[in-house]
């Protein structure tokens, strides 16, 4: 199955960012395809390379980058939501790209399921 993901909450502040990553990994392990992961609202903060959690904690941003590197997963950050929160090309972590909201609507059209992670 082709699955699109929408992540609306920031890392560390909310479980949604963790759950989405676990979901993506589990879906890939089952042979599903992740069509795209779209980051919106505070979810754009999952994409900043400036993130530096304490050493005994999980590194949410690097986890996404690794997923993109290993599986070619398309990680898209909303440009407007990113600009509002200071997330621009200069501080984007590897594997992410910045694009418009049309990419979210397209994910809804092209995926068999669009799964939303947030409140």
């Amino acid at each position: 199955m082709k699955i699109g993901l929408l992540i609306n909450e920031g890392p560390y502040n909310h479980q949604a960012a963790d759950t989405a990553w676990h979901f993506a990994r589990a879906a890939l392990a089952k042979g599903h395809q992740i069509q795209r992961v779209f980051f919106y609202n505070d979810g754009v903060n999952n994409a900043t390379k400036l993130t530096e959690p304490p050493q005994d904690d999980r590194h949410i941003v690097n986890r996404w980058s690794k997923l993109a590197q290993e599986h070619g997963t398309d990680l898209v950050v909303c440009v407007a939501a990113g600009l509002r929160r200071g997330l621009v090309e200069d501080n984007l972590a590897p594997g992410f790209r910045i694009s418009g909201l049309g990419q979210l609507v397209e994910a809804g059209i092209e995926s068999d399921r669009l799964v939303v992670f947030g409140d």
């Binding site: 929408l6 609306n8 919106y40 609202n41 407007a80 939501a81 418009g100 909201l101 049309g102 979210l104 609507v105 397209e106 809804g108 059209i109 669009l114 939303v116 947030g118 409140d119």
Partner: protein, 135 residues
Amino acid sequence: MTQVAEETEREAGTEAVVKKFMFVNRKAPHGTIYALEGLEVVLISAAFDQDVSLAFLDDGVYQLLKGQETKSLEVKNFSPTYRALEGYDVEKLYVERESLEARGIREEQLLVPVQVVSAKEMAELMEQQDVIIGF
């Protein structure tokens, strides 16, 4: 699209996909950014020729209240945008009756024409959708 163009497209097997998208608004217009950024997605989706509808429930019904005044909050009053949705061919706005009643809001206090539906009817509408995005 003209009928000829439609037929040509069908023959070529390239008929555009039209999915039923429902945007579910559950939060008050101010206090968090969800309502504003949710509305931005709705406006973009209108450009994709999909079958778009909006649902308002819980505190989301406050988004449609007439007479919002945000000057003292120093935040943008984006409520006039709901009136512009018609111009984007987004005309299916469903509001849950139970949510209105629980908050003492009457239909005539809303900014735009809506269809007031019961929670049960709302569930049926959701059942019919291909894509549900909630903010």
